[in-house]
């Protein structure tokens, strides 16, 4: 087994554990490369099926191509897709001009809380990776949130030997992270190996490409001439630029992501 085989096997194992342990479970699909790889792994884990719904938190500020791609893939894969918008916040005029962290909290974290409450999901599968950002590097595969989705990162239970915490007090909510061990390069190598369809925003046009996808007003392409997966992998091997360099909310505060994530951000 090579390195990608081992990552794949681990992720599939975690997906199956999550499916076996929680009856109300869904997966968050952000349309980006990671959660699309995750969707592929779900289909491998369940032999071509996706036995739980996918949730897309639509901030209404997403890059339009993402929505088009989402609807196309949902149809092709015959997915049970829940699209959720924090309508109330939108009505009240929430947007990045109110402050990026405030906006992220309202349109992503709060929207997520709404959809979890509505469907009573006990657990949510997410495609975050340890190498993306500092607070994500501290995550567990099975990570407990309280009723308000808050994460107590200073007091996480131990997790070892593929024995995850799957017993929880009533009312708690669990985040499952099957891709924690993957790196950005692993993701691209796997996309190439498996021939997974990804959105073409990742490929360079006019000397720029998106490295991480988010909302249109807050996500900026980075300089790149990589127009193929091979070129992206080569670029990543040599880059000095952080993956989330084009994500404006990360720059608001040195610990922006940690603060957002403590409150329930993905």
């Amino acid at each position: 087994m090579d390195h990608l085989d081992r990552l794949e096997a681990e992720s599939i194992y975690i997906l199956r554990e999550a499916y076996s342990k929680f009856s109300k479970i869904a997966m968050l699909w952000s349309i980006g490369k990671d959660s699309t790889v995750l969707l592929w792994l779900v289909k491998k884990a369940f032999f071509g099926h996706c036995p739980f719904p996918l949730i897309h938190i639509d901030t209404t500020y997403k890059i339009p191509e993402m929505i088009k791609y989402r609807d196309k893939l949902a149809k092709e894969y015959n997915l049970d897709l829940i699209v959720h918008i924090n309508e109330e916040a939108i009505k009240q005029g929430m947007g990045p001009e109110k402050g990026r962290l405030v906006c992220c909290k309202a349109l992503k974290t709060d929207a997520l809380q709404q959809v979890i409450n509505k469907y009573k999901f006990e657990a949510l599968i997410l495609g975050i990776r340890r190498d993306e950002e500092g607070s994500r590097s501290k995550e567990r595969f099975f990570s407990l949130r309280n009723e308000d989705l808050e994460w107590d990162y200073t007091n996480q239970p131990p997790e070892f030997w593929n024995q995850f915490n799957t017993d929880f007090p009533k009312g708690s909510h669990v985040r499952v992270h099957p891709l924690l061990s993957w790196t950005e390069i692993d993701i691209w190598m796997y996309i190439k190996r498996e021939n997974i369809p990804v959105i073409d925003l990742y490929f360079a046009k006019n000397g720029k490409r998106y490295r991480s996808l988010g909302c249109a007003p807050c996500t900026f392409p980075v300089e790149s001439n990589a127009t193929t997966i091979d070129e992206i992998i080569e670029e990543l091997k040599n880059t000095k630029v952080n993956e989330r360099a084009g994500r404006a909310q990360d720059h608001e505060d040195a610990y922006a992501m940690q603060k957002l994530r403590k409150e329930g951000y993905m």
Binding site: Y13, R16, A254
Partner: protein, 564 residues
């Protein structure tokens, strides 16, 4: 793409001995971190008016940077031309021991970091102990902060001696001792000219010299069922192969029940994933020829493999991380691969203070952060291996209420009290080995006891006074030196069981509960024997040995036979 080897290394040691700094320095010197991350650390260090803090490359949480400690484990990928590494930074603080174990449990090799100026400290010892419990044998000791001791060879040698003496008690034998300064980068990625007396490798070079474990593929098949799916017409048994290999047509046995069938197909998605054989490490799905009801927790092995234990009792070494102490006779949940069952600790055989390695006398509970040898009884029979035979099916965790609170490795099977021979009367009980047969095993070169009559004898029951390797008279008394009970055998029957205080010597032969003749032939001799026995400290083995050598005769009623 060629398959590159991946080695997982955990970095452990006492708080402030410089684990994160060493890793940060290693990443920095080998240009393994993006410049933006370095810029960020420069900015934070500057804001705090401190020199560049290499540890911040790993300690990403705000609390970690403000307090200068590692709270939770981090994993960082890193490569040399030879292979890829996953470096796991484990916290050194005692209260974060559970995070340290989360990091260390998945590692194949370890770096134990010791501060040259401080030497071995509490957590150095505890971490070393846990490495040995986790079965991590590949260890380098990194003596850090050599700049604080003027790069002195003499002091390095003293520290090396101190550590190696300590570690050898744990059966941990480090392959290398490397003197470094994480802060200055000496002997990390470049050879230090400040320590010309050190002829060994830099840390970076030494990493490549760790040898990877033998893969699990060559061990017997262990395929625990994770789930059974029926999304379409197929009934797929899904799970991860923990060891061994499996192919279509293989005859299999499903334990604990032992149902036998054949592998019909190996299932896959998408089409190009079709495989004829699957091996350890893969998450797979199969269908089998017989439509048994199968469920999570059952373990599939090859039909003729009888090496997997199926039992409800075993001995284990464990570390305890729970909020509450581990106690006897309380129900915990035990998880071993995909098996889950309720269990109890039926005996706490030994508790060790992991710092001093001293045994806690007569422990009735295992405190947080202690390690212990225990006997566990599960509610239902489960399948397992000894850890040394198969690490993944030989280890388990204990869940207290909602939290994984302890982890352990199976050290072997046990004979519980029900499975031994005993005499009982009312609430008195005496375990006896006097009816065990003794065989000399030629292949092993040692004597083994074989308990032939595993039953409980009550007053009035006839006892087997004549065996293959022993012979007792019709009437005699049996004394148990430990529990200080005496059993009276009269005319081949158990006639009474009394406390030693109330026992009156009846001038009949006395044997010990092990069947050894007691050299007492007169009332005077019995008085001496009684005096010495009463004075005997119960658990002092050396006194007991002297006592037994003086008073017991092994060969009078016992002999042994040869076996092959």
């Amino acid at each position: 793409m060629t398959a590159r080897e991946l080695l997982k290394i955990v970095v452990v040691g006492h708080v402030d001995h410089g684990k994160s700094t060493i890793i940060g320095r290693l990443l920095y010197d080998t240009k393994s971190v993006p410049e933006t991350a370095i810029e960020r650390v420069k900015r934070i260090s500057k804001e705090k008016g401190r020199p560049f803090e290499y540890a911040y490359l790993l300690d990403a949480l705000e609390e970690e940077q403000k307090q200068g400690i590692t709270i939770d484990t981090t994993q960082i990928k890193f490569s040399t031309p030879k292979r890829d590494y996953l470096i796991i930074d484990a916290p050194g603080h005692k209260e974060f021991l559970k995070n340290m174990i989360s990091g260390a449990a998945n590692a194949e090799a370890a770096l134990l970091v010791i501060d040259a100026a401080e030497g071995v400290q509490e957590q150095s010892k505890r971490h070393a102990y846990i490495l040995s419990l986790l079965g991590i044998q590949k260890v380098y000791v990194i003596v850090n902060k050599m700049d604080m001791i003027e790069f002195s060879e003499k002091k390095f040698k003293e520290i090396k001696y101190e550590i190696s003496t300590f570690l050898s008690k744990l059966n941990v034998y480090p392959q290398k001792y490397i003197p470094v300064s994480g802060f200055l980068g000496e002997n990390i990625a470049r050879k230090s000219d400040k320590m010309p007396w050190y002829k060994g490798e830099t840390l970076l070079q030494a990493l490549d010299l760790f040898e990877k474990d033998k893969e699990l593929e060559d061990r017997p098949l262990r395929f625990p069922i994770q789930d059974v799916y029926k999304f379409d017409h197929r009934r797929i048994i899904a799970g991860k192969i923990e060891s061994g290999r499996l192919k279509v047509g293989d005859e299999i046995k499903i334990l604990p029940e032992g149902k036998v069938s054949k592998v019909k197909s190996i299932e896959f998605w998408p089409e190009n994933n079709k495989k004829d054989e699957v091996v350890a490490g893969m998450s797979i799905g199969i269908t089998i020829e017989d439509e048994f009801f199968n469920k999570r927790g059952e373990v599939i092995v090859h039909k003729n493999d009888n090496t997997l234990y199926v039992s409800d009792t075993f001995r284990a070494n464990l570390f305890w991380l729970g909020k509450r102490n581990l106690v006897k006779n309380k129900t915990y949940k035990l998880k071993l691969v995909t098996q889950e069952t309720e269990c109890e600790i039926v005996s706490i055989d030994k508790v060790i203070d992991a710092t001093t390695l001293e045994t806690v006398e007569n422990a009735t509970e295992v405190r947080t952060n202690d390690v212990a040898e225990v006997t566990i009884k599960t509610k239902e029979k489960i399948c397992f291996d000894e850890f040394k035979g198969n690490p993944t099916t030989g280890r388990f965790v204990l869940v207290d209420e909602y939290d994984v609170s302890g982890g352990g490795i199976v050290s072997g099977l046990v004979n519980l009290k029900e499975e031994v021979t005993k005499f009982v009367k009312d609430d008195k009980e005496m375990i006896v080995h006097c009816f065990d047969e003794y065989y000399y095993s030629l292949s092993e070169g040692l004597i083994r006891k074989h308990p032939k009559y595993k039953r409980t004898f009550k007053v009035g029951d006839a006892v087997p006074i004549e065996g293959e390797t022993y012979s007792y008279p019709e009437s005699f008394d049996v004394i148990d030196i430990n529990s200080k009970h005496v059993a009276k055998i009269r005319k081949g029957q158990l006639s009474d069981l009394v406390d030693f205080d109330q026992y009156i010597y009846s001038e009949l032969p006395i044997i010990t509960s092990d069947g050894f003749y007691v050299k007492v032939n007169s009332i005077d001799e019995f008085k001496d024997f009684k005096n010495e026995l009463v004075q005997l400290e119960k658990k002092d083995n050396s006194l007991l040995t002297t006592f037994a050598n003086k008073w017991c005769d092994i060969s009078k009623n016992k002999s042994f036979k040869f076996t092959i």
